[in-house]
């Protein structure tokens, strides 16, 4: 059971966790990652964030990432939620939840999904700082994080 959602409205961690936990009596581990909008970007405070994506393609790419995770680890279920539109500092922006029998699978798959989402999924962030809007630059650290999974790729 894998769920992928792209939405403007907020999500509820408790509800997402509950669904993963209840998937099966064999679930022994649930790992959740929640990304939050920090109140600064490159050392300057931000007023708001605007998230654009490529409808259709984003869902396809996220599905590919989740499929890869399911090939590489023994997962019982996963949920990926990404918000788009206008967000404020401290808002929730992204959620990845993974349920598995053993904890290593859930930990690694959740981290893998986030690393790949950051570098492959078609989202673009624009920040508003002091009334000025500019697009966020991609980070080398994210590419490094994603590429470390390549070496053990099947």
């Amino acid at each position: 059971m894998n769920r992928i959602r792209i939405q403007t409205h907020d999500f509820d961690l408790a509800q997402e966790y509950h669904q993963l936990r209840e998937l099966s009596s064999t679930v022994g581990a649930v790992v959740t990652f929640t990304g939050l909008v920090r109140d600064f970007e490159l050392d300057a405070s931000i007023d708001s964030l605007s998230l654009q994506h490529y409808p259709g393609m984003t869902e396809t790419l996220l599905q590919e990432i989740v499929d890869q995770a399911n090939k590489r680890w023994q997962l019982i279920g996963s949920t990926v939620i990404h918000r788009v539109g206008e967000l404020l500092p401290r808002d929730q922006i992204v959620f990845v939840g993974v349920a598995s029998q053993h904890r290593a699978d859930a930990f690694e798959a959740a981290q893998f999904i986030m690393d790949y989402l950051k570098t492959k999924a078609t989202f673009w962030k624009q920040v508003s700082q002091d009334g000025q809007q500019h697009w966020v630059e991609s980070k080398d650290a994210d590419n490094d994080a994603a590429s470390r999974w390549d070496s053990t790729d099947d």
């Binding site: 259709g56 393609m57 989402l117 570098t119 989202f123 673009w124 966020v136 991609s138 980070k139």
Partner: protein
């Protein structure tokens, strides 16, 4: 445009297709007065033709990190295009 007639008539080496254009992220800022459709046979040709009227956009599209997709699949710049294709120009993603 110069070779459009020949291409359409003969379907010899390449087809000139009517393409729907999309620009994401920072590329959107440079493409506000770009038409929604264009005629071209490959993404590389789209880029080349856009550069003529929109040199700043053309320069942005030539950045090595910019990817191109056709009908929502990442492709190479010399991918042949079919009529009605959706071609999108994608700067490095920054979600999550």
């Amino acid at each position: 445009m110069e070779s459009q007639e020949a291409g359409v008539q003969k379907l010899v080496t390449r087809t000139i297709a009517l393409i729907n254009l999309l620009f994401f992220g920072r590329l959107g800022d440079f493409s506000k007065d770009v038409p929604a459709t264009i005629e071209a046979s490959t993404p590389a040709e789209i880029r080349q033709r856009l550069t003529t009227d929109h040199p700043t956009l053309g320069k942005e599209l030539s950045e090595p990190q910019v990817l191109v997709s056709v009908n929502q699949m990442i492709v190479s710049w010399d991918q042949p295009l079919a009529d009605g294709s959706e071609v999108a120009f994608l700067p490095p993603v920054t979600g999550g």
